[in-house]
Amino acid sequence: MSSSSQVAESWISSFCGLLGHEYFAEVSEDFIEDDFNLTGLQSQVPMYKEALEMILDVEPEDDEDEEDEEEEDEDDDEVLGDEKPVGAAGSYRRAGDRRHLRMASDLSVIESSAELLYGLIHQRYITSRPGIQQMAEKYELQHFGTCPRVFCNSCKVLPVGCNDTPGQETVKLFCPSCLDVYTPPNSRFQAVDGAFFGTTFGCLFFMTFPELEIGAPRTTSVGGADALLAIQAAENKSRSSSATNSTVVPAAQPSLINGVAPSNLAPGLGPGNVYEPRIYGFRVSERARSGPRMKWLRMRPIDVNELDEARRYWEERGCGGAGLGDEDTNMLDVAGAAADANKLGVAVDRRKKAVGRRRRTNGSGNGGGSPMDTNGIGGAG
């Protein structure tokens, strides 16, 4: 079978070059050619085989000499089967014409099937090692844009889906600085299916690259606005922890909290990054009808130890005095080790554990996106 990609651009790169397709990575042919990565997709995509051929730029069997190859027979028979008994030259030709017609009208069906198939493969690819690497390069180059939220300081965002089933929702942008999702600024992305990025990619990405600095350092930005923010921050701090010194963080901060470096845990949230409504300089009271109700959404404890639920649990149980229990220290160690080993394999192991745990607790595996289809990850891990 000849490949037409020698002169012309490949289907994949022309697809990724289309307006509105800027978020897509170019899935490697190796990945697509590995059947394992395509498991289960056949039933989701109409005209699967033709679509796959189109994606891989494989010339379809020419329609002049009819189906000789076994593979081709299977699906052509269904359509043309009834024509076969008619042996006359005329009708044979008619069949050919009809076939031609079918090709023309099907081309658009195949084209849209190919886009669907590519999207579904893409969802898996970007959670595989080479795919996530490719997305990391795009991320660094800011191909996905930045967070529109003022207090996120133009933190780079990542395309995600809120659903793994195609046709449900369009692509969204996940900001690691505020842990929220946003609609892409340009309407051309509102035609891109979110499932082609999937629900897993966003978080897996930041767990895979824990060393990525999230959010620009505050010092690089200039202007009075920042001075204002600094003042606000100081005010907030002194208000929320009036007992403690406003410049000193209350307790010793761990190097990792729940497996994440505190500096990388939602750095766009917390004191100084929460909008404080004011009228002529006076804060609008929470007790006013139009007063603030949503600050919690952008809050983050100054002392991240408050997020260490295990520790709090033991402390609240009165075990706090006896120091951290054995279990607790163990867990912290585990957390450290796990985050240090930022390899996908580790993540997979833990995921399996999580799956098992869930199974045990409530037999219904109804979490979004079947957890057992480990897709690309399994192959990569």
Binding site: D180, L204, R278, K295, R300, A310, Y313, A335, V355, G368
Partner: protein, 258 residues
């Protein structure tokens, strides 16, 4: 537009202001009444803020008739825009100004909140400072109570002081019916269907803060303003499906939950 109207026309021949508010990039501005502009009281203090103040004011009110070179004209034009902006900040907190901005808000002239959970809530322009040349205009969402950067660079270069720090908050005090219901719905980072522990722990901590606030409001007998007051049960099934980034699925979720 008629060519030559006498300057003191009473029926709103606002040539310059018409041009200004309909120019590309000036979509956030509303038209300031002639009446307001010609009342010197409303302009108190602005003469020191604006170069060529009197010429600029003449231009804005369509009574400019100075013969000058292009460069000078350009300077005055710039001053006129600045003056308009500064007066605008004052005008939009007046009854008439608020009403005009409310109409623009309802039409979505200031854009929609980009946050997915805010479901295209219309935004209001605001400044982070009332002092000119401090920071560009931002957009306020009354649903998530947060600030966003305008999408277009045309808007991103407008001075925030032309809208000020109070206007958007005053608007909702004056028109409380315009306050959108708040939502507790939020994005939950997941991996293969499982919550990510670090993010989930933070979400739970935030939820605690929210519940404390609601309790404070309840004790003061003030409405909380949330649309889904009864939906708290919803969070109960998530207790043990955290996907830990570290740690080993410690069964502590239940304790922190309520």
């Amino acid at each position: 537009m008629d060519d030559f109207n006498s300057e003191t026309d009473s029926d709103y021949t606002s040539y310059w202001r018409d041009w200004f508010i309909s120019s590309r990039g000036n979509e956030y501005f509303c038209e300031i009444d002639e009446e307001y502009l010609t009342d010197r009281f409303n302009l108190t203090g602005l003469n020191t803020e604006v170069q060529y103040y009197q010429y600029a004011l003449d231009l804005v009110t369509d009574v400019f008739d100075l013969d000058c070179d292009d460069e000078m004209r350009e300077q005055i034009e710039k001053s006129a825009r600045h003056l308009y902006g500064l007066v605008h900040a004052r005008y939009i907190v007046t009854t008439r100004g608020l009403a005009k901005m409310l109409e623009k808000f309802k039409k979505g002239d200031f854009g929609k909140c980009p946050r997915v959970m805010c479901e295209a809530q219309p935004l209001l322009p605001m400044g982070q400072s009332d002092v000119a040349n401090t920071s560009p205009v931002k957009l306020y969402c009354a649903r998530c109570e947060d600030l966003y950067n305008p999408k277009s660079s045309r808007h991103a270069s407008i001075d925030g002081a032309y809208f000020g720090t109070s206007f958007h908050n005053i608007l909702f005090q004056v028109y409380p019916a315009m306050l959108p219901p708040k939502t507790q719905k939020r994005y939950e980072p997941r991996i293969f269907g499982f919550r990510v522990h670090a993010a989930a722990a933070l979400c739970r901590w935030q939820a605690e803060q929210r519940e404390q606030m609601k309790e404070r409001l309840r004790q003061a007998r003030i409405e909380t303003g949330f649309e889904e007051e009864d939906e708290e049960i919803e969070s109960e099934d998530d207790i043990d499906d955290d996907m830990d980034a570290g740690g080993d699925g410690f069964e502590h979720g239940a304790i922190v939950q309520q």
